[in-house]
């Protein structure tokens, strides 16, 4: 059975009398412990799907089910213990005037979970940050370190599902590699299910088992990893995204010493 089921999801925004259909009739299913990718250009509605799951965007049509049950509105505490989100910009998603310790212990306080001291320390260890960072503020950390904090925060309640909204697109290539490795390690260790958004096909290919290509709020094509790698897409749009991916322009990167 699928852990996340989205059926015919439609998200509509209204502003100044104009209606904007950000997502139109998108359906997808993610199995437990699977890593599922959403890819497309800006404005394709990929992030809006994640936001709709979290209750940050209005669902105007369709159903979202988690483990067979329709998600409640408002989302509530049980939802927070099952689903957490990591945002794109680590500079904007951490409270600038809260220490790392406060950021990480707040979810524990809300949910009445004891041992916050040891849990915060363990969380820092898990994401590979030194314990001495505990009482620092976000501005004292680099972008990669902040994204590690954001991942640690998302994992404080030990959720089964992580929604990842472009988690590495604000980071340098080498830091991106570290964060992707961290996410993959955590997924294996904890049996997490990922729903990941990115505009970078190479990142999605590295991280995900299946990928849904989106354009203008609609699903264009779903591809398994092998189909993507083997360039077996059937729609013109998916192919144009594939062709424009920078990494395809170069030959093998195997070095003389590799």
């Amino acid at each position: 059975m699928s852990l996340i089921e989205i059926e015919n999801l439609t998200v509509t925004f209204r502003s100044n009398g104009q209606t904007v259909r950000a997502v139109e009739g998108v359906s997808l299913k993610v199995r437990a412990q699977e890593s599922y990718g959403l890819v497309g250009e800006s404005g394709s509605g990929k992030s809006t799907i994640l936001r709709a799951i979290c209750g940050l965007a209005p669902i105007s049509g369709g159903v979202i089910r988690l483990g067979g049950k329709t998600i409640p509105t408002p989302r509530g505490r049980d939802f927070a213990r099952l689903v957490q989100m990591v945002f794109q910009d680590p500079y904007a998603s951490l409270h600038p005037r809260h220490t790392i310790d406060r950021t990480l212990s707040e979810p524990l306080a809300i949910h009445g979970i004891p041992d916050s001291d040891t849990r915060v320390m363990r969380a820092l260890d898990d994401v590979g940050l030194p314990r001495s960072f505990r009482f620092r503020y976000p501005h004292q950390l680099s972008g990669g370190q902040r994204q590690r904090v954001a991942i640690a925060r998302a994992l404080m309640l030990e959720p089964g599902i992580l929604l990842l909204d472009e988690p590495t697109s604000a980071l340098d290539a080498s830091v991106q590699a570290e964060v992707l490795n961290l996410l993959n390690r955590l997924r294996v260790e904890r049996g997490l299910t990922f729903l990941m958004v990115s505009h970078d096909l190479a990142v999605i290919d590295h991280m995900c088992d299946r990928v849904l290509v989106m354009q203008n709020g609609r699903a264009v094509e779903e591809l398994a990893r092998e189909e993507l790698a083997g360039a077996k897409m059937t729609t013109a749009y998916a192919r144009s995204l594939f062709d424009a991916s920078a990494d395809r322009m170069l030959g093998d990167v195997e070095g003389p010493h590799a």
């Binding site: 290539a173 830091v175 590295h206 790698a229 990494d247 395809r248 170069l250 990167v253």
Partner: protein
């Protein structure tokens, strides 16, 4: 003769904890070609670009043994002479259209401002030139874009407007600082081909600053890789795959690739004499 020649360029900032060197002895020369400068955040690539236009404010300090553009010594030039160069001879496209366009002026007003003030063109002539420039960067509906404010444009459109603005005075050298980082891959390809055509057709020199090694390799003639304010390797873009320097190799290898292996991505090894 080369268009631009730079020897031992240094940019230093005085801070409370002593001087910080953002650029430490960069030398290169540029003809009418496409030079890529690649590096991570903090490598000094943007500072190098800004130093060429002497656009670094005190307490920042620019020093160089030589910085000559088309026979003119940029280090000795007066502020007045620099102003005559900026825009007209050397132009710079900034990274983010959201922060680099004036939010309270229409695109049309911003595009024609320079033409009216600098070139003393009449309103209709200026407008015609601006429309041609927008057309050159393949904006399909130039009339509408002229009347629009920057917030009414998408990122790709904003970026194209900035490129159009920089190209109106037909500069000899264009410094493009991450001109495509904020764009989607398909739009990115379009903007690059526009830049490419301009270099080819107008014989312009281009300095393309980016953090994306693969993109630069695909688009430029030569690539300069920077780390901590120094050039660690300079090579022809075609030879990039055969790069010898461990930092360049590290940058290449840490990127995931479609159909690549699923194991952990190799990290960057920052040990060695070069990482000082």
């Amino acid at each position: 003769m080369s268009l631009l020649s730079v020897k031992n360029l240094r940019v230093t900032f005085q801070t409370e904890t002593g001087p910080v060197e953002a650029v430490r002895g960069v030398s290169f020369s540029l003809g009418r070609e496409r030079l890529g400068i690649v590096g991570e955040s903090g490598s000094g690539k943007t500072m190098t670009g800004r130093a060429l236009l002497r656009l670094i404010r005190p307490p920042g300090k620019i020093e160089a043994d030589e910085m000559i553009f088309d026979g003119q010594d940029l280090m000795a030039a007066s502020e007045r002479q620099m102003r005559a160069l900026r825009g007209r001879r050397i132009a710079m496209v900034m990274q983010d259209p959201k922060f680099s366009l004036n939010p309270v002026m229409t695109v049309g007003a911003q595009l024609t401002e320079g033409l009216r003030q600098r070139d003393r063109l009449g309103r209709d002539d200026a407008r015609k030139r601006a429309l041609t420039a927008l057309d050159a960067v393949q904006i399909r509906d130039p009339e509408r874009v002229m009347a629009a404010y920057p917030h009414e444009l998408s990122g790709g459109m904003g970026q194209r407007v900035m490129i159009a603005m920089m190209l109106i005075p037909e500069p000899d050298l264009l410094i493009a600082d991450e001109p495509t980082s904020a764009l989607d891959v398909t739009v990115q390809a379009e903007v690059l081909s526009i830049l490419d055509a301009l270099v080819r057709d107008r014989g312009m020199g281009l300095i393309f600053i980016s953090h994306d090694l693969r993109l630069v390799a695909r688009f430029c003639d030569r690539v300069m890789v920077m780390y901590k304010g120094r050039v660690v390797e300079e090579l022809a873009a075609a030879d990039l795959m055969a790069a010898q320097h461990p930092y360049t190799r590290g940058l290449l290898n840490c990127l995931p690739r479609i159909g690549g292996p699923r194991g952990p991505l190799p990290g960057l090894d920052r040990t060695g004499d070069w990482a000082e």
